[in-house]
Amino acid sequence: MGGARPLAPWRWLGLPLVQCMALTVLFSLPFRVFGLSMPEPIFPMVPAFAWAVIRPSMLAPLGVLVMGLFLDIFWGAPLGLWALSLLITYGAALVGRSMMAGQSWPVMWAWFAVNSGLAMSAAYLFTMLDSHASPSLMAVGWQFLATIILFPFAHLLIDRFEDADVRFR
């Protein structure tokens, strides 16, 4: 009777957070396949979007902040860059949550793309202000594409935990 019990936060918040960090570390290894570097998607974008869609929570923004700070430190970016960008994604998804409810899979993918684009636009703007230079749009585009193809994982997370807690049925 696992479904009758309240959902522990570590299952829908803690575990995806750790998984995202582990995948980020794995994809940062300096390997080349056929002379090409591996892509660098923003894995934390998946839970940042999915947590807001699943349900509002006090712990989720804290988790997003932790993931963002991890990205900043691990990638050597300005401290707070990805933390703020991911929090913007979370906030946007939280605000548009009622509009996303009950939408089909492709529409949700489009929402994910919009939210990812919002986060990357914010990161672009912050980087411009910080470095007084414009990042390459081509490089931003590649990272955006590498990120939005992760939507199936977000869908999996939403599907699994949207109705998993008896208190919110």
Binding site: P78, S131, A139
Partner: protein, 397 residues
């Protein structure tokens, strides 16, 4: 106290509101951190303890994770080498034949160069010490291009040290901790590297934008660069030594001049961190070497300046007993019959010494210094004055 007995137990706050408040608090924290970040200053104190701890933890973890991948890569390379051995052999033979010609030319040029250095009293920078390291992780996104190397403070690495692969400049160190150092790549949005076009000596600033090909900005002059020109560090500003290979100039799709980085020719697995701070460090560390007198050239090259070997020998023996012969005049002093002229020559200041010594065509050393030394000011500062304005850095790669 049970929840029901709590006076606030019946108080229900909408979940969305609490999430909103938590979100606002988190955003305030993130904004505060972003505003206080001073990564762009590239100072060691700006790197912060948090990043140092993060790097110290990440380096061994990624170093461990990367090992199986390297084994697989080595295995694939072995199989590939086995199957492509014949074509590889043919290619290497052709390269070897070409390299043999270059070797002869290089040896001749090195010999000539050494003699010029000795004749002019030219002082080059001493070799820069370096440490080898392995890169264990990399960030290659548009907003940060950095690498983590597994050598840190314990090996003498400090912020600002240039980093090279076997092919060219990779970037420079922006943060150091025990066992790890963070390298800012040339492609990072915050990277600015003073470079020059080797063919024209035109200066430019290599500006990263997060893409694979950084831009060449602030190019001056008319047609200072052509497609395929080699780029090297200019040494301007004293941040990097002069002459490190950077890459080739290419015209980008956007019409701007960009660089194809030399370090991209192969995976950057191992790097060399040059323990270079600035030029004053080099001169201070090697003051003794810089002040050392140049080795006199052998007798054989003297005919090249129009004096036969016999004449040179006899002149040398004639000049040898004169007590006023100074050490610097030992280089080409024998070639003289111009001693009287030297008597009427104006006194040589160190500045004029430097001016003449920087011109290879001037046979200044052939003037007889022995008698002139009586009237000339002391020549002790000559070795310093003879240092060229922009000596090439010798990096023993």
């Amino acid at each position: 106290m049970a929840l029901r007995e709590n006076p606030f137990g019946e108080l229900r706050v909408p979940l969305a509101w609490t999430a909103g408040v938590a979100l606002i608090v988190a955003i305030v924290v993130a904004v505060g951190l972003l505003m206080s970040d001073r990564r762009e200053t590239f100072r060691s104190e700006a790197y912060g303890v948090t990043r140092q701890v993060g790097d110290a933890v990440a380096a061994p973890v990624t170093g461990f994770l990367v090992t199986p991948g390297r084994w697989i890569g080595d295995g694939v390379d072995t199989v590939r080498e086995y199957f492509f051995a014949v074509s590889e052999n043919r290619r290497l033979k052709a390269e070897l034949a070409e390299a043999a010609e270059w070797k002869n030319a290089a040896l001749t040029l090195r010999d000539t160069n050494n003699r010029y250095k000795a004749l002019l009293g030219l002082k080059t920078d001493p070799p820069i010490p370096m440490v080898a390291a392995r890169t264990v992780s990399e960030a290659r996104g548009p907003f940060s291009n950095t690498r983590l190397a597994n050598a840190g403070r314990e090996k003498g690495v400090i912020s600002g040290n240039p980093v090279m692969s076997e092919n060219g400049l990779v970037g420079r160190v922006i943060g150091v901790t025990e066992g790890a150092s963070r390298i800012l790549l040339l492609t990072d949005i915050a990277a600015r590297t003073p470079v020059m076009i080797e063919r024209t000596n035109a200066r430019a600033i290599l500006t990263g934008d997060g893409g694979p090909n950084p831009r060449l900005e602030y190019l001056r002059g008319q047609d200072p660069v052509k497609q395929g020109d080699r780029l090297v560090t200019s040494g301007d500003g004293g941040v990097l030594p002069r002459g490190l290979p950077v890459g080739l100039a290419v015209k980008g799709l956007d019409g701007r001049w960009r660089a194809v980085l030399a370090s991209d020719a192969a995976p950057v697995d191992f790097v060399r961190i040059l323990l270079f701070q600035d030029f004053s460090q080099l001169t201070a560390a090697a003051a003794a070497e810089l002040n050392k007198m140049p080795v006199p050239p052998p007798a054989s090259p003297l005919p090249a300046v129009g004096v036969t070997a016999n004449a040179a020998t006899s002149a040398a023996s004639a000049a040898a007993p004169k007590p006023a012969t100074t050490p610097t005049s030992a280089t080409p002093a024998p070639s003289t019959g111009q001693a009287p002229a030297a008597k009427t020559a104006p006194p040589r200041t160190p500045a004029s010494e430097a001016a003449t010594s920087s011109r290879p065509a001037t046979p200044a050393p052939s003037t007889a210094r022995a008698p002139a030394a009586k009237t000339a000011p002391p020549r002790a500062p000559a070795p310093k004055a003879a240092t060229p304005p922009s000596p090439a850095t010798e990096v023993p790669f």
